[in-house]
């Protein structure tokens, strides 16, 4: 008998734990968007798992009434890999931050992406260490003055989208904490993707790095800063539609032309060659002009758990239906002899 379709609501995904982020933190908006989005999936709560590392963002699993693990710093993608490979029936989300994913856990992130493990990885990027009270992060801009860099940081930041593309990610997207509609649409696309889906979420830390993304949010500026990527749509933006993303003939990269007549590129995230998505990821300068949001890349590649399971199924086809007997044959294989 077919079961009735799941009728869950956002409330079903709220756990009984008191949320302990600072008032005004961007994480609240992301949590609310996630709780609002999850019922849409039609997946029962017990089949959803959130795995996180350490940091403000990584408290996320405690607040969702699904299965969840708040693990250790940087290791969530590794832990989630073991879970995803052994339990393909689950939908596994990884929640991480710029320090967790790009500093201490950088290695696990890139390898999860190249393997195309079936994980939805949400990187909350606030360009600062929040939980340790305000040191610069690997996405902080050069010269960032923080508690640990009173004279300004000397290191050059990562561009998380470029990094994910370089790590062979099959799905790469960016969104913003305060734009619930856009955030939800990106979560939806990520959830539908088979394999690793990497989503960078610009998230405001109102205590240690307030307003880091303000130009992308303020109604006065955002239209002239944001490029909304939509599959099959021309890359024309601006308050008056005055900007066009074009590909100059003499360049490997893309550029933004302030011209109503320029012919904009048409966005296609499904291109096999990641060069286009990479070029998009390089458009924004330190002042965040011009920041693409949406899906940069979405290509189809067999996920790691599927390839592993295919091998397993192929091998198991040769097994008898009696594991004890197969084990006995294995133990007795090779050069054996009998003592009477």
């Amino acid at each position: 008998m077919p079961s009735a379709p799941l009728q869950l609501t956002a409330k079903d995904f709220k756990s009984d734990q008191e949320v302990r982020w600072c008032p005004g933190c961007g994480d609240y908006a992301i949590l609310a968007a996630m709780q609002g989005f999850l019922p849409e999936l039609g997946i029962p709560r017990e089949r959803i798992v959130f795995v996180s590392g350490i940091g403000c963002s990584s408290r996320f699993p405690y607040y969702l009434d699904t299965y969840g693990m708040h693990s250790i710093h940087g290791r969530a993608p590794a832990i989630a890999t073991g879970l995803s490979v052994t339990r393909p029936d689950l939908q596994v989300w990884v929640v991480t931050g710029d320090g967790d994913a790009l500093s201490i856990g950088g290695n696990h992130l890139i390898h999860a992406l190249r393997r195309n493990v079936n994980l939805k990885i949400l990187l909350f990027n606030n360009k600062i260490y929040g939980l340790t009270k305000g040191q610069y992060s690997p996405t902080s801009e050069v010269g960032k003055v923080t508690k640990s860099t009173p004279a300004g940081s000397a290191d050059y930041p990562f561009n998380p989208i470029s990094l994910a593309l370089g790590a062979e990610a099959s799905f790469v997207a960016r969104t913003i904490d305060s734009d619930r509609k856009h955030l939800t649409s990106v979560l939806r696309a990520a959830a539908e993707h088979q394999g690793s889906a990497f989503v960078e979420i610009y998230q405001n830390c109102n205590i240690f790095n307030d307003g880091a993304f303000e130009v992308l949010k303020d109604s006065e500026t955002r239209d002239n800063y944001l490029i909304r990527l939509e599959q099959g749509q021309p890359l024309r933006f601006g308050s008056e539609g005055q900007f066009a993303v074009t590909h100059p003939a003499n360049s490997f990269g893309l550029t933004v032309e302030d011209s109503a007549s320029a012919e904009p590129l048409v966005h296609d995230a499904t291109q096999e060659d990641p060069a286009y998505a990479f070029a998009l990821s390089r458009l924004a300068g330190p002042d965040l002009r011009y920041t693409p949001v949406g899906v940069f890349r979405s290509v189809s590649r067999p996920s790691y758990d599927k390839l592993v399971r295919d091998q397993l199924e192929k091998a198991k086809a040769k097994a008898s239906d009696n594991p004890a007997q197969d084990l006995a044959s294995l133990l007795n294989s090779g050069d054996t002899w009998t003592i009477l």
Binding site: A78, G82, P323
Partner: protein, 616 residues
Amino acid sequence: MTAPKHVEQLDRVVIRFAGDSGDGMQLTGDRFTSETAQLGNDISTLPNFPAEIRAPAGTLPGVSSFQVAFADYDILTPGDAPNVLVAMNPAALKANLSEVRKGATIIVNTDEFTKRNLQKVGYDSNPLEDDSLAGYDVHPVGLTSMTLRALADHPISKKDAERSKNMFALGLLSWLYSRPYESTMSFLERKFASRPELVAANKAAFSAGWSFGETTEGFAVRYEVKPARMEAGNYRNITGNTALALGLVAAGVRSELTIFLGAYPITPASDILHELSKHKKLGVITVQAEDEIAAIGAAIGASYGGALGITTTSGPGVALKGESISLAVALELPLVIIDVQRAGPSTGMPTKTEQADLNMALFGRHGEAPVAVIAPQSPADCFYAALEACRIAITYRTPVILLSDGYVANGSEPWLLPEVSDLPDLRTTFAQAPNGEDGKFYPYLRDPQTLARPWAPPGVAGLEHRIGGLEKADKTGDISYDPANHDFMVRTRAARIEAIEVPDIEVEDPSGTANVLVLGWGSTYGPIGAASRALRQRGLNVAQAHLRHLNPLPRNLGQVLGRYDKVVIPEMNLGQLAHVIRARYLIDVVAYNQVSGMPFVSGQLESMLEEVIKNA
């Protein structure tokens, strides 16, 4: 036609095959061992090779050797000193001669004793021509040239022909010790299946070596070692690493859980990954992770999902996994960490053995993070130790560290194959329904006997819960910073490891009157046992006890130790178990320590114990 040669009976022989890393000595030793096993001798082997894959040819650091002892009685070690040394070049002779008994047989490949090769290892004159080998029974044999002559008509390159010289040597030794060669023939057919010309060439080289033994006047006597009296049953020769891998596969079958291995390649543990990756048919999943931390992380994730997570490594890897082991302690999930110990610190001597990770296994984590620790005592015992590690992990939902080492991992011995139905039943149950009287699910509500919490993999409706590394409130598992709760949880985590049921330690003391107890753990079992036997044969009484469980220790250990005037603890470290025993039982012990990267020589333990007994 030569006259049939005189056949002499021996009860025990120790042969060491030594050559350049590229000479195939490990393979030659393996084959000789397999032939010997077929004959029903008891055997014990000791491979010894450099960390470099191909150190410069002909140099001392490039020497690789394989020692095999075989006897018509049960033996415990690969032997202290070889009776036979096969030296494929001057470096092999120089590197091994000091360990060879006077009067021993030395077979040398004269073709390699060139001026240049002699100079390379610092021989001023040719030892085959001066009197430096006086007192040995030296057999100069042109192994390379005779192999080349034997293969002159074979359609293979000169290089391939030269490489067959190890088969010539194997043929000669197989003749000398009357070994059956059928298994080697079928091995060659398997190994070179895709290149029939190499099968033929290697077989021909083997036959040439055999025939050379038969016809040459250089070997007047041929030897036989009768089968040992061993328990009836089916046997195979097995290395510790293979036995360990099979033990894990067996644990999967007996627990009906998926075995999941997360591993990063590291000497001397990689063979376990190689072996397990072959057993997908039995549902084993292996992931070669990007690093040691990812390897254990994936294993934790798999255990969380209801598989049995395993990670295999050596000391440097355990150090990297420390934080993750602490996480598993906090999560209270089953996890097996296998440490095939090697000589440290740092990279140390990766292919050499040591027992110096005991402190790390017992204490090497932040916070109060106790885990169960066990150690196998011989290659075949690795199978049962793996099952025991899995039993503890599954029953008590705890990380278990299994301390193997390079000596048992690469060494081999005959293994009496068990019946699958005799192996322990490791089945467990997952949480399926709320466990609270109020109808709620409490992830940290414990079983009153084992103190284990429910194993509740995702997928069951109504049991949704969150766990993590933050301190948890008793029963609910919710985040808690309450001081009294933390104190309670720390004590409970310690108590649940202490509560693990482990068998009492048994003492072997045939006389029942010994005043001295020798206590060991792990791979020292063989040399300690051999030394104890030798002492008893000489009328000296010594009691021997060996620890499999290092945490928790057997309940009766303190009582046992108290019965003896002296307790001696030989270890391949600077006294790590000795520290534990002194601290725990407030008794002094005699610590006897060696950290040479090589296993104890039983003769050396015998002399040391004799001194202690005489002064007791």
